[in-house]
Symmetry: D2
Subunit: 335 residues, 4 copies
């Protein structure tokens, strides 16, 4: 592969354009050479802005010989199809979460990737690249808090885009805790449960908010996640891992401390994109460097699959009102 | 009643002697005039130290005419009997938690107190007098965090006395969260559940540790309590009330901040008696002042009863593995 | 002396009445038996409220045989005279700071007390009884931050009573840092200096505000004190001792932490009396216990003298614009 | 200028090589095309590593037509000469601090740059690009703390390279506070003073440590800087701006909070390069973007000059023991 990875981007929405700018201006090892979007005009606009190729379809973009790697930031339902297409074409693909809509689709992707014998897929779980979570992982692995027993976490949002629904509390919100918790604990999940709780008057629509989600791992660790999909006082992400000998907590992002009006205070961010902007830069930089070394080493199709199965179990539990078992396929050796 | 309340103390163990010193030297409105203990010698020692009466039995102490109010700090199983005796004698009684061993005993106490037509009993839930919890209560009632939806709390201990058992995680440890949570939320419980979690190698004995306890209120609020009965890094009490518009958290006790050895740190207390010593002073001072005004206004027999019923439900849930309903008798008007 | 110390109080202003209530209701070892005030009616009001003796003058109060100890909370200029009178009468006296208006008066008090051969006088530097400062002292003496090199401190006030003047920034405000700093460092001062700084538009009157005060000790330690006499955002007291191996800082008083409105905050107190109310209780309790043991062991006439000499040097430095030497008399052995 | 700025780097020491990697791999708008070093072999090593030109001298590098901008990271005494050479050649130059060894050299550079009629020079005061300082600047300019009156700051180091000397406490350490304080306050200095303080046994060599430096601005603001050149517990940078209505403080870098061993703690960095690594990236990225827009907009030769004059005044004050006036030339309009 050339020293400069030529990337094709499918999906030119807000996050897509943000990633294109990142790949163009922030990540030295990457250059975007082609774009596509279900809604042609937005692809054309981006193509003109950067003077790059505009493809009629994602399939066409994937097929173009100069495209060495593909970034999928299109609408969720289209992710799995494009990822499979990339695998068929033997091209690297970075897919924003979720990897797919169903566990079946994820398994299909895994089978296809395994058939190829090597990793091509990376899923966009950017929190693993946040300095705070990375430092927590390091502290846990150092053994200084002993064996991890529990995680207490919360994910609080101020608002959601129109068309939000109850299930999205899992598939678009808690999915981050689903991934980061098993990554921090280095174990797989055994059960998932959603617990009912008093609802907030600040909810914008007719979905359930807040929800409390509980996960257990095969070693018996228990994770609780308070999910406020909207109406919260800020975009606030909290996580504490409780070990036998101590705890480590995700730090608040560094913020200027003010003393005024008989109070001491610091601001909390209001938007996920501010909160994790540095993590995105680190994520894509690591992805590019890994590709130059031959293969992605970040979150894999397996991680996308586990997130999907776990999400299904949480949604089912919300309906059955009891904990649901999480059954995973045999883990292929390439992961 | 005389300006100085003459108190008889039943139970001269460690906590009993501590309270006697408090009533003698710290609380101006009280004077201890008589003591009793199942183990005579310890009562005699205290009686000689202060030059006060030593009674052969608690019943004798309660019967003595000069005793205006009784403090019960004897072994848990004896609490209910002494409290009933005091009610029969029409005397004020301050009973360390638990009020009784069973809900039935609590109901008997309530019926006896109601029959008398006025409050005589106060139960020793001292956390309500901790400045931190009091400030949280005030913040909640001010409305600044909106309607409370959840409480996340933890109760971590470094060790337990010999003879500890799994049930005590409820009746001697979580009982404090049982009382303080409903006091903060000003609601009654609907269900209780104990959730299994990976066990700690630091546990001193063959009991379950940690345990996670979940409570819901009639308005749907959900309380989670992480209980580490022993083996924890410190005596650490954490509590966050999550409202629709914000959260309030119990502050760490004020402690000197040190910067040394490439770290910034402050000490955490190791012992519950240090942590709540000021609360005990405030509690007994408030109790004495209330008695001088005619009746106790602190935690009542009703609160002791609810704690007992809730504890029973938690213990049952640990066996059944599912949430158990909390059914309470009709609340008498005197409470 | 009787187990219950009979105290006479000279000065029935706001702070005087507060202390009287404290000695009556909070400190078990003390009882106020007589009061006096330059303005008779306020003494009469207090005397009636408690049903105690009202004396025509402080001298008469000091002379009364039943008065075992005297508390002086009258106007500053009258302090020295009453203290001398108490020493003549061989009675214990607790004098609110300042001990006197001039170093000469202080020396006279010291000579009189030394002539009597034992300590009778305690000066009301209550900060030494604040848990935070006490913990800092302990940390320093433990050696964990090495030899102390510097103190950075600030004393910020929201307002001052009418009649305030520039010199009071030293005699009524910084006097607390003058005492606490040498107590923390366990050394005497060598020089004092006031440094000019940009003035605040929030100042209520025509005095200098803020002022920066610098002190050096005989071992070369340097203390800087930022003094905002009024117009500050809160009543905020900060102190950091910098040692060779680390620093210790005075903690903020424990306060509930709130997350709301995209900020995390805790309240800061607005009034010195809230901030140090617990220190006052501890201070008078320790004073009473010490008297029952035969003599006061808190801040002495010597400490009052050093504060006075240091204050004079600071005020002189403000006029000369340069550091002024601090010359102390030989320290008598009783201190 | 080409979209990709071709940079020549003079000085291939540790920091030089770090910057070269940064310009090559992190900053998309720059490419290093040539290097030089007083010690040929280190330049050769870097040149081979990147396959770029190795020049015999800095002058030769500056003269090469393909070199569009020069980065000077050579030994301090050589800075001024190379900067003047670049100005003569009409090339942009980024010079690590200090800009020069003497105020005279700085004035010469300013005159040369002014003669050219536009800015070519940027000085490497990277703290202006630290997110914390940037947020403080923003908070001050928002007016939320009122007019700034004071800055309390400290600069604590764990160690210094061999050959360190007392003056370096100003020219290599406090120089950062000299620049950042006037940038935060947006005012020029009036006086400078060094105050003696008790010395630390942890000092590695025979220089003065710690030192306290005081600066005043034309509007009367006062800045105190505690400088520990070495022997401190960590690399700790603290800064609080005190305004009429409140204060803002530089936050500690975000760090995982641990509770273990009866303490709550977070780590403090030990090395300036960790602490400000992100600021370096932002600094060079901003420099490159500004050059592509036609001219540098970061710290100027004027800022380098003021730092030099202020440093001279501090060093003089250390010898005279009194405040020294800071006299600046007329500020040219291009700055």
């Amino acid at each position: 592969m050339s020293k400069e990875i030529k990337v094709g981007v499918i999906g030119c929405g807000a996050i897509g354009r943000q990633h294109i700018a990142r790949l163009m201006n922030t990540i030295p090892e990457t250059r975007v050479v082609a774009v596509a979007d279900y809604y042609q005009p937005s692809a054309q606009a981006v193509a003109e802005q950067y003077g790059i190729t505009c493809c009629a379809t994602g399939e066409e973009l994937i097929a173009r010989p100069e495209v060495e790697a593909v970034l999928v930031t299109s609408a969720d339902p289209s992710h799995a199809g494009y990822v499979l297409e990339c695998i068929k074409a033997g091209k690297f693909v970075f897919c924003e979460k979720p990897l797919a809509q169903t566990a079946q689709e994820c398994e299909e992707i895994i089978r296809a990737e395994v058939a190829g014998g090597r990793r091509l897929v990376q899923v966009g779980f950017m929190r693993r690249y946040d300095r705070g979570y990375a430092a927590m992982k390091q502290a846990i692995e150092s053994g200084e808090i002993g064996a991890p027993l529990m995680i207490h976490s919360c994910h609080r949002n101020m608002s959601q885009a129109p068309g939000f629904a109850t299930d999205y509390a899992v598939t678009r919100v808690a999915i981050h805790e689903i991934d980061i918790s098993r990554w921090l604990l280095d174990d797989e999940y055994a059960t998932a449960q959603v617990l009912a709780v008093r609802q907030s008057k600040n909810t914008q629509g007719d979905w359930l908010n807040p929800q409390i989600m509980m996960l257990t791992t095969r070693s018996g660790q228990r994770i609780d996640v308070e999910v406020q999909t909207d109406g919260a006082y800020a975009y606030d992400i909290q996580c504490q891992v409780v070990g036998e000998d101590g705890t480590v907590s995700l730090p608040d992002p560094s913020a200027v401390v003010k003393r005024a009006g008989a109070a001491c205070s610091f601001p909390i961010m209001t938007d996920w994109s501010q909160r994790f902007i540095e993590a995105y830069d680190i994520e894509f930089d690591a992805w590019a460097k890994a590709l130059l070394n031959g293969a992605p080493d970040g979150p894999s199709a397996w991680d996308g699959y586990v997130a999907c199965v776990t999400g299904d179990a949480l949604i089912l539990s919300r309906q059955t009102g009891k904990p649901e078992a999480i059954e995973l396929m045999e883990k292929p050796s390439i992961y």
